[in-house]
């Protein structure tokens, strides 16, 4: 019979081994994306549009620009809406609307992103009879809203009640207390929650497949299809051409740098703020 002590040690080692196993894909993905993506990067890669298959050169500048544009448009819709919901949830938690909103926001954040894409297709693409940047931005905004609502609520709840009471006791109206003191005082953490949502939608592909669709050219107008980085990576990856695969890896590297960079930045900002506060 194995001694109890040995068994305990073995199981602890097994737990560590399983955690290591979970982290293997992360390291492998980072390594593969960097080693295969770096050779694809060049100035042309960022500044040019694709050339016909078989010709050397060309780039996916249009897709990078497209993704930035889509993020901007989606944020213009999603950030104010999400923040307003977050404020309602944290500042008026006892209201019936706020209680119902909490559940609705949770359900919305559990809706698969491909279904969000199909919804935007049914609401915008079908009636307008064409793929468009509008539809893509709306789909991304819908993905953003519940994320921002939930995280900004958490952030605003960190403001102590006594601060609100102090503002009210000084005779400030409630809306001023909320906007100037509660929101104004947590602006840094609200930026964190917005940036996390931006990092998430930057890599979203499914909502864009049949809304923004894709394009081989520079920006053509908001009611026209528009290229995005994730969709371009997808189309290039499933194509049979070696050159396109290489470009897909390059695109993935740009995307990873963007997304992981945002996450790291947010984390650094967050720990710094907390350490200066305490």
């Amino acid at each position: 019979m194995i001694s109890r002590d040995l068994k305990s040690r073995l199981m602890v080692a097994l737990c560590y081994a399983l955690l290591a196993l979970a982290l293997v894909p992360l390291l492998s993905i980072l390594y593969t994306v960097i080693s295969k993506g770096l050779p694809a990067l060049s100035l042309d890669f960022f500044l040019k549009t694709p050339v016909p298959v078989g010709e050397a050169g060309g780039g996916i500048g249009h897709a990078i620009l497209g993704t930035l544009l889509l993020i901007l448009m989606a944020s213009a819709i999603g950030v104010p809406l999400g923040l307003a919901m977050g404020i309602l949830l944290s500042e008026y938690p006892k209201r019936k609307t706020a209680r119902a909103l909490r559940t609705v926001v949770e359900v919305l954040s559990s809706v698969p992103s491909i279904v969000v894409g199909l919804f935007a297709y049914a609401v915008i693409v079908k009636p307008m009879k064409g793929f468009s940047a509008h539809a893509g931005a709306v789909a991304l905004a819908i993905v953003m809203v519940p994320m921002i609502a939930r995280s900004s609520e958490e952030m605003l709840k960190l403001v102590p009640t006594s601060v609100r009471e102090a503002g009210l006791a000084l005779g400030l109206p409630r809306w001023k207390v909320i906007l100037k003191i509660v929101v104004g005082g947590s602006i840094g953490s609200l930026i964190v929650s917005v940036l996390l949502a931006v990092a998430r939608i930057a890599g979203e592909t499914a909502p864009l497949l049949f809304t923004a669709f894709g394009s081989q050219r520079w920006f053509q107008g908001l009611n026209q299809p528009i290229a995005s980085l994730p969709v371009t990576i997808y189309n290039y990856a499933i194509s049979p051409y070696e050159d396109w695969h290489e470009k897909a890896w390059g695109g993935a590297l740009v995307l990873i740098v963007l997304v992981v960079g945002l996450n790291l930045f947010v984390r650094m900002m967050w720990t710094k703020r907390r350490s200066t506060r305490s």
Binding site: D5, L88, S110, V115, P146, W175, W249
Partner: protein, 302 residues
């Protein structure tokens, strides 16, 4: 009285602005159900119960979505089966075993796993994972248990099994995060009590941590299931997109999400409506899973 009302007027309008934003969320949620049903309705009208058959063949105007539902459930459950032990063990290390600084660093890496976009998982899966599975893992499994129908048939690489593996990798951070939260809520006395009784470290974890959070771990699994059901890009790239029901896990297949991702952009008429119905059913399933998650995690302090 009047002057007081005067003072509070901006307050009321401010609250109304917030309320209107909240109403946008309600409208959005109802809109999801209405518009997807509306998109899929022509298929329901023309095909009726024929939507619940096995064959999906757009050129022949045959649209049965059962093989998609089967693909979604199979890949998700397989993924959970692979991911749960790994996630629970990871959460045990992060909240019970590793010393502070190490736990923080490892926890950060697990969170990074969640930040990587689905499309990058797909790209890595297609060019790195699938070749490994095709050349090494699948032939190895087939050599020993190939007589079982689920492991039989020719090996393509892209398959239900490959999709399940990538899904498992993707839900690990979700399940780990929920388990960590649940373990953190267990009172320290419970652990100390076990150790005082002379339990070894692992016995303490087994009884004080794992046994007492069984329902919570189940809740974490349901949450992971919700994630897996709707996951699209990585699955679409690895599953092979074949709309035929095959009982072998090594054969290509299709999930509801991957069917939409690969067909909606080119679909029209009844085909589009049938895909709309697929979306509607996926919406219903994910709403159902959401409520199960709520119910399962109710007692565990979340």
């Amino acid at each position: 009285m009047n002057s007081l009302r005067e003072v509070h007027r901006p307050d009321v309008s401010f609250r109304w602005i917030l309320m209107i934003c909240a109403w946008v969320a309600f409208l959005l949620l109802t809109g999801f159900f209405i518009f997807l049903f509306d998109l899929g309705f022509p298929a329901l009208r023309d095909l009726g119960f024929n939507l619940l058959t096995l064959e999906w063949n757009p050129p022949l105007k045959v649209f049965g979505m059962v093989s998609f539902i089967y693909g979604t459930l199979l890949t998700s459950l397989l993924a959970l089966f692979i991911a749960t032990p790994v996630s629970v063990a990871s959460a045990v290390v992060l909240s019970e075993l590793a010393p502070g600084k190490l736990a923080k660093a490892l926890g950060f890496l697990v969170e990074m796993l969640a930040a990587i976009p689905s499309i990058v998982y797909g790209l890595w899966g297609l060019f790195f994972l699938v070749p490994i599975l095709r050349e090494t893992v699948m032939p190895f499994v087939q050599k020993f248990v190939g007589f079982l129908p689920i492991f039989g048939g020719p090996i393509y690489g892209v398959s239900v099994f490959s999709a399940a593996v990538i899904l498992a990798i993707m839900v690990i951070p979700t399940i780990t995060a929920v388990c960590r939260e649940i373990f953190a809520n267990i009172p320290q006395v419970q652990r100390d009590g076990m150790l005082a009784l002379g339990a070894t470290r692992f016995e303490m974890i087994q009884v004080a941590v794992l046994d007492s959070s069984r329902s919570g771990i189940f809740g974490a699994m349901v949450l992971g299931l919700g994630r897996a059901l709707g996951e699209t890009m990585a699955v679409t790239m690895l599953i092979g997109n074949r709309s035929e029901l095959d009982f072998s896990w090594f054969a290509p297949g299709q999930t509801m999400a991957s069917a939409m991702a690969s067909e909606v952009a080119e679909a029209s008429g009844t085909h589009l409506a049938a895909l709309g119905m697929v979306g509607f059913v996926l919406l219903l399933i994910s709403a159902l899973v959401f409520y199960s998650t709520k119910w399962a995690l109710k007692g565990s302090g979340r």
